[in-house]
């Protein structure tokens, strides 16, 4: 570090580092002894610490402004992404309703969703070997291996898909909102808060300043935290299927659910509810990258929801 020099215009009474050293420290351009000397000074000098922390905030604000400008340009070039997200946001309320309808069967009453499936083994096949134990328990109507709040796992699965879509659609606001919802939910579930906070803060950071790739990576890291600690995997996956299927059907982009067998899962769930045709057909008939047909598919979903609400169909019987 260079010998201290007075700050411009400041009546320096202690050996504060020159503004340029603090700036270099802020930009992570100091190494070794220089860095340690500035660190040591900052630990004891409230004035320099204030300038440094406010300088850091200014740099973040500048970076966020640049990112917003770049983001606006990207959205102009790829309007489909924004549209897809808007559809996703509209779906959130519907998913919440479906979650509420699914809640009872998952929480203590004797009914289980997968037990009513005629194709339980096929479900296990699609899910893969890692899921077999859980699926086996479900198909046998055994719930002892499940978490006390499996409905929360369904909810988390749906939200993580929403978050994934929001991140891919480059909608920072929606992604931030969804992330907060996820963190609050996890905090209520007793997940070690530090993990969630770190992932959350990293994600927010990336949302402000990071590239699309790093943002997606941080989003994935948050999802890993969510799943790694106490979320019942099968219920979590069901939440993902439902939300992915619904997004796919309304947005008109089958690629959302074609990965990991989501399409087949939606079909199986539709089959279990007893009104499989409209929803499954609506999803299954979507050719790749077509214009969406929200009205038709929404009708099918609304009918599915109404059927649950009116008691026309139950998960226990698998039919009307």
């Amino acid at each position: 570090m260079r010998s201290p020099a007075p700050r411009p215009g400041a009546a320096t009474t202690r050996a504060c580092p020159p503004a340029e050293d603090l700036a270099a420290f802020l930009d992570l351009r100091l190494d070794g002894n220089e860095r340690r000397e500035v660190e040591s000074h900052l630990a004891g000098c409230e004035d320099c610490r204030e300038s440094y922390s406010e300088g850091l905030r200014f740099r973040q604000e500048e970076a966020a402004a640049e990112d917003r400008g770049a983001g606006a340009q990207r959205r102009l070039v790829i309007p489909r992404r924004t549209w897809a997200l808007a559809a996703g946001v509209l779906l959130a309320a519907g998913v919440a309703g479906l979650w509420l309808l699914l809640r009872d069967p998952w929480t203590g009453r004797t009914r289980t969703l997968v037990a009513s499936l005629p194709a339980g083994r096929e479900l296990a096949k699609v899910l893969g070997p890692a899921w077999s134990d859980s699926v086996w328990s479900l198909t046998r109507g055994q719930t002892s291996s499940l978490m006390a709040t499996p409905a929360a796992s369904v909810w988390l699965g749906a939200r993580v898909v929403d978050l994934d879509v929001a991140l891919r659609a480059d909608d920072v606001e929606a992604a931030r909102r969804l992330t907060r919802e996820l963190v609050e939910k996890l905090a209520n579930r007793g997940t070690p808060e530090e993990q969630v906070v770190i992932s959350y803060e990293l994600l927010l950071e990336e949302l402000e300043t990071g590239s699309e790739r790093t943002t997606l990576l941080e989003g994935a890291a948050l999802a890993e935290v969510l799943v790694a600690d106490g979320v019942e995997p099968t219920h979590y996956q069901v939440g993902r299927w439902l939300e992915a299927g619904r997004l796919a059907s309304l947005v008109g982009d089958p690629s959302i659910y074609r990965r990991r067998g989501w399409k087949r899962m939606v079909e199986l769930l539709s089959e279990a509810t007893g009104i499989p045709l409209e929803l499954a057909d609506a999803i299954g008939s979507l050719p790749p990258r077509t214009a969406p047909e929200p009205a038709a598919t929404r009708t099918a979903i609304e009918r599915l929801l109404a059927a649950f609400a009116n008691g026309e169909v139950s998960l226990e019987t698998g039919g009307a």
């Binding site: 020099a5 700050r7 411009p8 215009g9 400041a10 009546a11 020159p18 503004a19 340029e20 050293d21 603090l22 700036a23 270099a24 420290f25 802020l26 930009d27 992570l28 351009r29 860095r35 340690r36 660190e39 040591s40 900052l42 630990a43 004891g44 409230e46 004035d47 610490r49 204030e50 300038s51 440094y52 922390s53 406010e54 300088g55 850091l56 905030r57 200014f58 740099r59 973040q60 604000e61 500048e62 905090a187 808060e193 530090e194 993990q195 906070v197 770190i198 803060e201 990293l202 927010l204 950071e205």
Partner: protein
């Protein structure tokens, strides 16, 4: 040459000044006065700020540090040693603006809310600002009194209240001293981490980036430091009920590590 650099950097300089004013509750004529003061200082020094710049850091960071240093001098010249509380820094720009107007400039909460609310299109609603103001520590505005003023000044409150206040004051000093001793005994970087996190209100991820550390490892590290501080405080006879009482005591701005990291004070309480 330096003059040309000054002219080239004017848009950046304006953004830094605007940021500084926003972060410190300077509005309207006051903000304009500070802006003029900064530019005048730079020009009067024959653009020494630019002549000294060697490019070791970015110009953005450099000018930010320069202006923020200048603001501190400006602030001292106008308001003495007043500075925003750690709580206000943690709560963000609007909280700092409110606190500046209330405790520094002597406005009422309603006046401060109206001023902040009308200063920016992004400002929260009046109700949200009032809620924000309610979270700020109550701080007594510094007033200058002459002998005549001192003569008119009388003690307020009952004798019992004054005694209680004195006890709490003494307890606050004991806690602060114990805390200072504990923090002073920490390794330099640990001390800086705590100060940046709890006094400057930086997010953990920002602290990590600032010091070139892994954010995921920093959180447990901070928790570990706090556990050590807690043990020191316990050894010094400080209990969590004492601290809680002090935090409840209006007028006290304890910048302790009891808030933040875990989200609640209870997470790092000093009682066993």
């Amino acid at each position: 040459m330096s003059e040309q650099e000054f002219l080239d950097a004017l848009p950046l300089l304006d953004r830094v000044v605007s940021f500084t004013c926003r972060r410190n509750g300077l509005f309207g004529a006051e903000a304009e006065e500070f802006e003029s003061w900064v530019k005048l200082r730079i020009i009067e020094s024959n653009y020494a700020v630019f002549a000294r710049f060697e490019g070791r850091g970015s110009l953005q960071s450099y000018l930010a540090i320069v202006v923020l240093n200048l603001f501190r001098d400006y602030r001292i010249s106008k308001w003495g040693k007043w500075r925003p509380s750690a709580m206000a820094k943690r709560l963000g720009t609007f909280a700092i603006q409110l606190e500046s107007l209330i405790s520094r400039d002597g406005l009422t909460v309603q006046e401060a809310v109206a001023t902040v609310g009308s200063a920016s299109a992004d400002a929260p609603s009046g109700r949200e600002l009032e809620e924000l103001a309610a979270k700020l520590p109550v701080r007594v505005r510094r007033r200058e009194l002459g002998e005549e003023g001192l003569d008119r000044t009388v003690a307020t409150g009952s004798a019992e209240e004054r005694t209680r206040s004195g006890e709490l004051d003494a307890a606050a000093r004991r806690v602060s001293e114990a805390l200072e001793r504990s923090v002073a005994a920490l390794e330099t970087q640990d001390r800086l981490i705590l100060r940046l996190r709890f006094q400057e209100g930086l997010k953990i991820v920002d602290v990590a980036r600032a010091l070139g550390l892994d954010a995921k490892r920093l959180y447990p590290r901070i928790q570990g430091i706090l556990v050590g501080v807690r043990a020191d405080l316990q050894e010094a006879g400080v209990t969590w009920p004492q601290v809680a009482e002090l935090l409840e005591w209006s007028g006290l701005d304890l910048t302790t590590p009891f808030e933040g990291a875990g989200g609640t004070r209870g997470d790092v309480s000093v009682s066993s």
